[in-house]
């Protein structure tokens, strides 16, 4: 994949109040972007716009592969997204959640690989437990497994370390390094450590000037 993301003049207003404006960046493969800023500066909003979950008020963002633009309706297929406010299906087990997502996403992945992925995030022994019994840290790990299921070229992480213990943070670090090597990574974070891992930074506080 020769993935490129180009954003020009992005701004978002909600109920006529502007959150951020004139955000610009260009990303290519192996790039990683850190979005930083105060609480309420719009980090989550910006990363959601990149994921095409919400639309911007002004400006353009386009993601292209080999110079051909990927239509907005297909962006979900190349995006992996992890955030504390993402919810999985409580009434299903971890493994069932993975299988359901695999079916809906049309991912060609074997059951064995799914189990390996669960193992990688440290949930192998909980694979048949219902998600409603999971702690928030376990849910966060499962979100990583679900996000990586289809090997996404673009990985978006909002507060990647939230709810995770030391081991979890190490796991995230590994995932980040792997993603930087094979695709594009965007991280929205308050922690300076995370932003040091990235090649580019956008600070949304400065946007207000």
């Amino acid at each position: 994949m020769f993935l490129k993301i180009s954003a020009n003049g992005l701004s978002k207003a909600y109920n006529r109040r502007e959150i951020f404006s004139n955000v610009n960046f260009q990303l290519k493969e192996n790039d990683s972007l850190a979005i930083t800023g105060r609480n309420g500066a719009g980090k989550s909003t910006l990363i959601k716009i990149i994921a095409n979950i919400i639309s911007q008020t002004k400006g353009e963002i386009s993601i292209s592969d080999k110079e051909k633009e990927i239509p907005k309706s297909k962006i979900f297929s190349i995006v992996g997204f992890v955030a504390p406010y993402l919810q999985l299906y409580d009434e299903f087990t971890a493994l069932e959640n993975m299988r359901i997502i695999k079916n809906i996403r049309n991912v060609l992945i074997s059951e064995k690989n799914i189990l390996e992925l669960l193992n990688k995030v440290g949930l192998y022994k909980n694979r048949n437990d219902f998600v409603r019994t999971f702690s928030s840290g376990m849910k966060q790990r499962l979100k990583y497994a679900c996000a990586l299921l289809h090997d996404p070229p673009l990985l978006l992480l909002d507060e990647p370390n939230s709810n995770l213990d030391e081991e979890g943070v190490k796991m995230v670090w590994e995932i980040i390094e792997e993603q930087k090597a094979k695709g594009i990574l965007v991280v929205a974070t308050n922690e300076i450590e995370d932003s040091k891992l990235c090649t580019k930074i956008i600070n949304l506080n400065k946007q207000e000037e």
């Binding site: 919400i54 979900f76 993402l86 919810q87 299906y89 299903f92 079916n103 049309n106």
Partner: protein, 226 residues
């Protein structure tokens, strides 16, 4: 290749909805009881009076209408309530979501209507069908139309605040032409008219469903995407 992917996604969502329902049984139990309760209320109200066939046709569709209003919004509303809307945004095309949930509502309503019909025919001996083919076609087309309109309205209502009460309010004006035609067609079935006489009604029912589905297909994106 794109189409098979969309179809698979749609079926994947349908499968998720059905599995979820099996797992929790939130909707089905309550809905079946709702039908039983409504029917009981009606039986008590009628008592030993002689009610005309025409009114019985209307009452049948009233029961079906209200059970639809109770049950068909859940598929969208529960996603909002549990916060899983974003997950769906991230894993599927909006249209797959729409069609998956439409198919689920269709399935749910079919079961519900069969249950309602069996009870109705058993408990109300005054209701006699004289032309079964008209009746069956009416039920099929009616289920289709009701599910289609209810699904798109449910999608709208899920994004609002007062979901429960808003659903029938929005749905009724939209469903009215459908209901009137259904009651009319049922009257024809009960009166024992010939199949040909009902073709006008069937045309209306079919075109209604098609129009609703086409317009839902075109507009769903505006509802679904924030």
């Amino acid at each position: 290749m794109k189409i098979t992917e969309s179809i698979n996604a749609t079926l994947g969502i349908l499968q998720k909805e059905v599995l979820s329902e099996f797992r929790t049984r939130y909707a089905l139990n309550a809905l079946l009881m709702f039908v039983v309760t409504t029917l009981s209320v009606i039986l008590f109200s009628i008592g030993s009076e002689n009610v005309s066939q025409e009114i019985l046709c209307g009452i049948l569709w009233i029961i079906i209408f209200f059970s639809s209003m109770s049950g068909l919004s859940r598929t969208f509303v529960s996603e909002e309530e549990r916060g899983t809307v974003m997950t769906l945004h991230l894993i599927a095309n909006p249209l797959s979501v729409y069609f998956g949930k439409l198919l689920y509502n269709l399935l749910l309503l079919t079961f519900l209507n069969i249950f309602t019909l069996i009870l109705y025919l058993l408990m109300i001996p005054g209701f006699v069908i004289n032309n079964y083919s008209i009746f069956v076609i009416t039920i099929i087309l009616g289920t289709f139309g009701l599910a289609s309109a209810s699904t798109i309205i449910a999608a709208i209502v899920a994004k609002a605040n007062t979901k429960g009460t808003l659903f029938p309010v929005l749905a009724f004006p939209i469903l009215l032409p459908l209901l009137m035609t259904l009651i009319n067609a049922t009257k024809l079935a009960v009166q024992g008219a010939i199949l040909n006489e009902a073709f006008g009604e069937f045309r209306v029912l079919l075109s209604y469903s098609i129009v609703i589905i086409v317009i839902s297909y075109l507009l769903f994106d505006f509802i679904w995407k924030d």
